[in-house]
């Protein structure tokens, strides 16, 4: 019996077994499958994925094109429903969620960073972030803590610029700021460096890693690039719709 496993409550007391504190995983996926139809052909994008990601982890899902990683990203982000299996994010079961409930999940629990940045072209960088706060029902004034995050991202002085006036790297850092402004339980990043040159890629990945280390933000990054994946704390490989 290991030390600490038995508590001595008293000489006559029955020994008790101290249960180790197991934190609930932030993401828990069991037997996830996704089948969609392209014309008359059924495509099995995910074939029973099991995955657990703990709070505060930075995990990279690595896979080739068509491996199912983007489908996994869409399901975890509540953008599309699963066909079968269970998916829990921060304790919330995505299975059987209605469209409105998934919208709510995206508003409160999940933040996104996309390969193509996906900033609203008509708004400034600042307003691209603030509109997400507005949609989340929060105050649109940046807190001092968030100002620090903007400083960490190196975009504090670019806030008044529209996306077209920003470099790809800057746009992606604005997208990261937008993804975390509502303090989501998890930040999902889909090929965040896919549209960047190597210098900007390294800068963005470093920022994501810093963010994870300094704020404890849980991050799941989808990538096909093993070098990008090396910035993550853990790497999970996916092939033909299965975790390998």
């Amino acid at each position: 019996m290991s030390e600490g496993a038995v508590g001595a409550a008293g000489a006559n007391a029955e020994p008790t077994i101290a249960k180790p504190m197991i934190a609930k995983p932030m993401i828990q996926v069991r037997g996830l499958t996704k089948v969609y139809r392209v014309g008359e052909v059924e495509v099995h994008a995910l074939r029973g994925v099991d995955l657990e990601i703990a709070r505060g982890e930075f995990v990279a899902i690595v896979g080739a094109s068509g491996s199912g990683k983007s489908t996994l990203f869409h399901i975890l982000g509540g953008l599309t429903p699963p066909t079968a299996g269970t998916v829990r994010i921060d304790g919330k079961d995505l299975g059987g969620m209605t469209g409105a409930q998934r919208t709510d999940l995206r508003k409160t629990t999940v933040g996104f960073v996309f390969q193509k940045y996906n900033l609203l072209p008509t708004l400034s960088a600042e307003d691209n972030i603030k509109i997400v706060e507005y949609i989340g029902g929060r105050s649109t004034a940046f807190t001092p803590e968030f100002q620090e995050v903007l400083k960490l991202l190196g975009i504090l002085d670019r806030m008044k610029h529209k996306p077209r006036a920003l470099s790809g790297g800057q746009q992606q850092r604005v997208a990261i700021a937008r993804g975390i402004v509502n303090q989501p339980a998890i930040l999902l990043a889909d090929e965040p460096t896919g549209n960047l040159d190597s210098q900007n890629s390294a800068a963005v990945l470093k920022v994501i890693k810093d963010l994870n280390e300094r704020t404890g933000q849980t991050i799941l990054m989808i990538t096909h690039d093993s070098e990008a994946a090396s910035y993550a704390g853990r790497t999970v490989h996916i092939r033909d719709g299965r975790i390998v």
């Binding site: 982000g77 953008l79 996906n118 008509t122 708004l123």
Partner: protein, 365 residues
Amino acid sequence: MLNKLIFANLTHRPVRTLLSVLAIAVEVTMILTLVGVSHGTLDSTAERARGVGADIVVRPPNSTVMSSLSSAPISDKLPGVLLQEPHVVLATGTVIQSLTFPDSITGLDFAAFNKMNGGFAYIAGGDPVADDDMIVDKYYAQQKQLHVGSRLRLIDHDWNISGIFEGGKLARICVKLTALQMITGSPGHLSQVYVKLDNPKLAQQVADTLKTRMPGYPIFTMEELTSMLSISNIGMLTDFIGVVIGVAVIVGFIVVFLAMYTAVLERTREIGILKAVGGGSGLILNILFRETLMLAVCGTVVGIALTYGTQWMMKHSVPASLVQETVYVWWVYAGAIAVVGALLGAIIPGYKAVNQDVTEALSYE
């Protein structure tokens, strides 16, 4: 925040926004101009009728307030008969000959007319002296560029302009009664008779008495006559306004439908982004409908401003033919019509936007 996004969206495509606003503005102007001209024309007719100074009008049998008088079926002995009635101090008849709409020539007994209301206030010249003398009001003179001494050919007859008077009395074009009776082949006949009483308060009572004595003659007090000069009393005009409003709503609907449908297609990715960050159907519809509302409100404001332009144009190019009034209550109606038409036009684009798949929208190029 949302307003900022809407404003940014509208200014992002300034030409499309401007064209949409202009199209809605034309819709509003179309309605307001038609209603303004209808009111203006009828009100100026009523004003001229009041300017005669009579208390009662006797019209020919089988005529109505709104029917145009272009014949002279009443004997010119009738004013003399009417003068025998209690309280009647003056009775004088006119002959009316229609020209191209809305103009007409009125023949009148100037001596009796001057007694009834003090006569015309002349800007230049004076009452006709010769049989081919004609007087016109300042609006007709302006429109036809006439001055005292000008020659004008109407109803196959050359007229000499002998006077130009301030508007607002009886008619725009007047000649001597006997001259017009001869030219129109109706000597000894009148189109209608104006009656002045010793006490205007007795107008209804006297009119009622005259109706019993002269069955078949439409007899109105002046108050009654002018109050009946309204759009609601002209079925065809009401129907016409209805048709124009219907066309305007359809135009507004089509314009906004096309503008918003294009906007939704063009912003597929943006809609996907908003949905991805938690924007629900309500938010998407809210943005589209607010944008539409903004277009409709701006279109209404521009449309109202353009109405002043059409008013100015009519006043300076056809002041005698068309009189356009500003009917303020119709600003609200026209605005409401524009907004309803525009919102109807946004329904299908809104439905399309709400039903866009997020993942497909995000991958839209």
